[in-house]
Symmetry: none
Subunit: 247 residues, 2 copies
């Protein structure tokens, strides 16, 4: 799906923005870049800001007008700062991703980004099926082009990934150790309680809410087996010191 | 909520990235920027890339170390390219937003971004409750810092916008106690380390991964102020016993 999404930059003034957009695209797994009448391209600033995404720049198609950029695309979406004279179907980047994700693999999608200073013209916007608007701070709404490309391609990528990764491991990462089971936790809490009595921190006649508080704290962390072993090792070390004192 | 989120840039090399990050922040409605030992700041490249967000740069706090950046923060999250030696709870930007959105309005959150060439150090990552990872293309995973700030602040903003009606409190319940801030947690870990040395459980010459493991465990639970006080009370009780033995 991501391979079939073309990013179209119209009349970009600053070549650095083209480079940064290429980098954002490659980071998110896109590769099809089309430049409509860029002011300066190729240019060293584009290379510099692309970091390692120079292949995207080298393969970019440079064209004279929008027709050439869009000819083979079935869905065209224009990035728009605000609604124009004629209201148009407008989506945010997440909604756009939810429109694009279910499309067949061979549907070609183009997302258009306009000029740094004044975006896309009304004519260009009217070539689009949808407009996509990033919900920016109203008091400071001018988003850098590469930043807009970053946000929109990120959403497209997230939509693609969410098809795949339903079963996510605990805490979002593969944990290296099995989680402790309930029996191990109960033994830990017994050990903790006993030790706290021995160091005179817990008065068995006036236990208050100490153990429930500690249980709640440790349970929230969902400890693994090694962590429980480490905690019990600490308690044993404390007990050894305490017994040393008494004898 | 967005006003209470601090973006912390650690050791940034290129002032242009600081400016672009400030612009991304302002676009998304954030304003609290903290710079830990920036290589060059203030700098004209930062001004240029900030576009109209110079107020964010002017109000940025420049500090010498991470302690000063994080002291008053209750939730600390580090941007991480991949999982490190010890796995840490890791979320994507959307999951991060779903954690941050339900927090009470006065909870201060810090999101840390590391150096251009090598990100955050292991020590810095171990100061964090969670790591946030942007699911990039594995073949080209080095994301520009400002682009990472853009994606994460975009998700935070989206969560805030969608979250007006459906706010679920942290841990699914209204918490009765304020969360501990970073300074309190660091004092707790110092106290814990000291006590473990005194009971001969931790060998300062061979610390292995003991403290990182314990940090990770307690950070996962996101302790509140009373819990931290209880833990420190326990440590003091243990120390009293140990000292009793020695004398």
């Amino acid at each position: 799906m991501l391979k079939n999404i073309r990013i179209v930059l119209v009349n970009t003034s600053h070549p650095g923005n083209i480079g940064a957009a290429a980098r954002a695209m490659k980071n998110m797994g896109l590769s099809d870049l089309c430049l409509v009448e860029p002011r300066k391209f190729p240019h060293r600033d584009a290379e510099a800001r692309a970091a390692g995404a120079t292949d995207i720049l080298e393969n970019a198609k440079v064209v004279d007008d929008l027709d050439q950029a869009l000819a083979d695309c079935q869905l065209v979406v224009g990035a728009s700062a605000r609604s124009r004279t004629i209201p148009w179907p407008i989506v945010n980047p997440r909604e756009l991703a939810s429109i694009v994700a279910p499309l067949a693999d061979d549907v070609r999608v183009a997302v258009l980004f306009g000029r740094e200073d004044r975006g896309l013209t009304n004519d260009e916007l009217q070539r689009c099926h949808h407009h996509v608007h990033i919900p920016v701070n109203e008091d400071f709404s001018s988003l850098n082009i590469a930043a807009a490309v970053q946000v929109i391609t990120y959403e497209l990528r997230m939509a693609k990934l969410s098809d795949v990764d339903e079963a996510k491991p605990q805490w979002g990462t593969d944990w290296d150790v099995e989680l402790a089971d309930n029996r191990e936790l109960e033994l830990l809490f017994e050990h903790l309680e006993q030790t706290l009595i021995e160091v005179d921190f817990l008065d068995p006649d006036k236990p208050r809410n100490l153990m429930p508080r500690l249980r709640r704290l440790f349970m929230r962390a969902i400890p693994d087996k090694i962590e429980v072993n480490v905690l019990r090792g600490m308690l044993t070390a404390v007990q050894k010191c305490t017994k040393g004192k008494e004898s």
